[in-house]
Amino acid sequence: MDEKIALKIEGLSKVYQLGRRKEVVALDNLALEVKQGEIFGLLGPNGSGKTTAIKLILGLIFPSSGTIEILGQKHTEVSVKEKIGYLPENPYYYRYLTGPEILNFFGRIFSLPEETLKERRENLLQLVGLENSGHLALKHYSKGMLERIGLAVALLNDPEFLILDEPTTGLDPIGSRETRNLLGRLQSEGKTIMLSSHYLSEVEKISNRVGILHQGKLLALGALRDLMTEWKASDIEDLFVKVIEWSKH
């Protein structure tokens, strides 16, 4: 049932050549599918290859081998990017622009009609709680506010597929809960969400399926409940530790 697959990755590897003899395998033969309408959590310790995988999916870096398809199209097609929303880890935008200005800028990159852009800009600023910060340049934003405006930028094109790299970094507990609720609401609207995080409890609360990456290899993949049964884990943290420990042997 190909039409239900939002993301299909086959044999994806990324090797960095360091000089003539040394090479670093950032991602090793990754294969996974993300179904349409699900929330997929990509877990792994720092340096496990999560961000590398996301950058490959977005075409920001190039694979050493393997293929990526998003919503049935090759991932490098410009038209497929119209359907993707992306929140980078530590989102940084043009610091001298205000929140509404940055949304206008990206809205024009998406070729949104001015009327639609105006409506979405106001709704999104309200949604992320920045409706009263319109006069502030981004250089005066706190880390949490930058994360919120980043989320607004990611949702600006009303994407079918949302990719979030560490979406709750910099958010306080209330902000994290609001983001979780928002992601749940987006899922109920039929959107597919892929998020990477090392905050295990966050992922546990919202993900339908997870993949655990370590040293570039996908060690476990499946529904959280199934994985916990398979690995005899009491919670997600226990599962994570057992999988990582197992990989060392």
Binding site: K55, L58, G59, L60, I61, F62, V78, S79, K81, E82, I84, Y86, P88, N90, P91, Y92, Y93, Y94, R95, Y96, F105, F106, R108, I109, F110, S111, V153, N157
Partner: protein, 254 residues
């Protein structure tokens, strides 16, 4: 093209806010203004000197600003990682590069206009009139800057900031000397040297084609066909440099 224009306008806005851009421009304007100080010369010599020195000054400062602006416009995107957000959107790499070119050219156009305005005011004070040749000279300096912006972007697309700065300055200086180099090599009668200078002469843009200050200083006018031919020559180099830039940038990971 519309998206390139959006990137271009944003790059232009960003450049105008850069302290270093403002400082170089203010310094250039002050220096141009100070060419009034050649008061020890006769009025006629003073006028020639002002034209010659000011046009050289405009060219050198415009070149510095062109290199700096184009280089910074690309480097900042990488340093702040805004490029990864941008390229995750429906934006082609070619549109991004074209946008950077448009933005840098807009910033350079503004600085050339401001420097030319100061220069023209000085001439008006001294001469009470402006000859068409001054506009021709300024136009060719601007055309030269198109080439320099494109060359800087091409090098910055794959190289470090330091390398870009040194290499493009080297090209700028060499581009002014290749004509003389060719003449000298022919006198030296060394086949290897002659071949090398010929290659340099053919590959590196001859920036002396754009410099008509000597003619302007002594009141010799330059024909329209020369202006158009030189402008076309500049456009060809600009186009090639932008293609090279795009080629290098296609393989750059962000």
């Amino acid at each position: 093209m519309v998206k390139a224009l959006i990137i271009g306008l944003n790059t232009f806005r960003e450049t105008l806010r850069l302290k270093s851009y403002q400082i170089i421009l203010i310094f250039a304007l002050l220096l141009l203004g100070s060419s009034q100080l050649f008061s020890f010369l006769t009025p006629e010599e003073q006028l020639k000197m002002i034209k010659d020195v000011s046009l050289s000054g405009i060219e050198i400062f415009a070149a510095l600003l062109a290199i700096f602006t184009a280089m910074t416009s690309l480097r900042n995107e990488f340093e702040t990682n805004t490029i990864s957000t941008l390229l995750s959107k429906p934006l082609r790499r070619s549109e991004f590069i074209l946008g950077k070119f448009i933005g840098s050219v807009l910033a350079i156009t503004l600085s050339v206009i401001l420097m030319a305005a100061v220069f023209s005011t000085l001439i008006l004070i001294k001469q009470h009139s402006l000859e068409a040749g001054l506009f021709s000279a300024t136009f060719l300096i601007w055309a030269e800057m198109l080439v320099i912006v494109a060359l800087t972007l091409a090098v910055a697309a794959f190289a470090s900031t330091a390398f870009t700065l040194i290499f493009v300055l080297f090209l700028f200086l060499t581009g002014h000397l290749t004509g003389y180099g060719l003449e000298l090599a022919q006198q030296a009668k060394n086949p290897l040297l002659q071949a090398l200078t010929k290659i340099f002469y053919k590959v590196i843009p001859n920036f002396e084609n754009f410099a008509i200050r000597d003619e302007i200083a002594v009141g010799v006018s330059v024909s329209l066909s020369y202006l158009l031919k030189t402008f076309g020559y500049g456009l060809i180099y600009t186009f090639i440099a932008l293609l090279l830039c795009l080629y290098f940038f296609q393989f750059r990971e962000v």
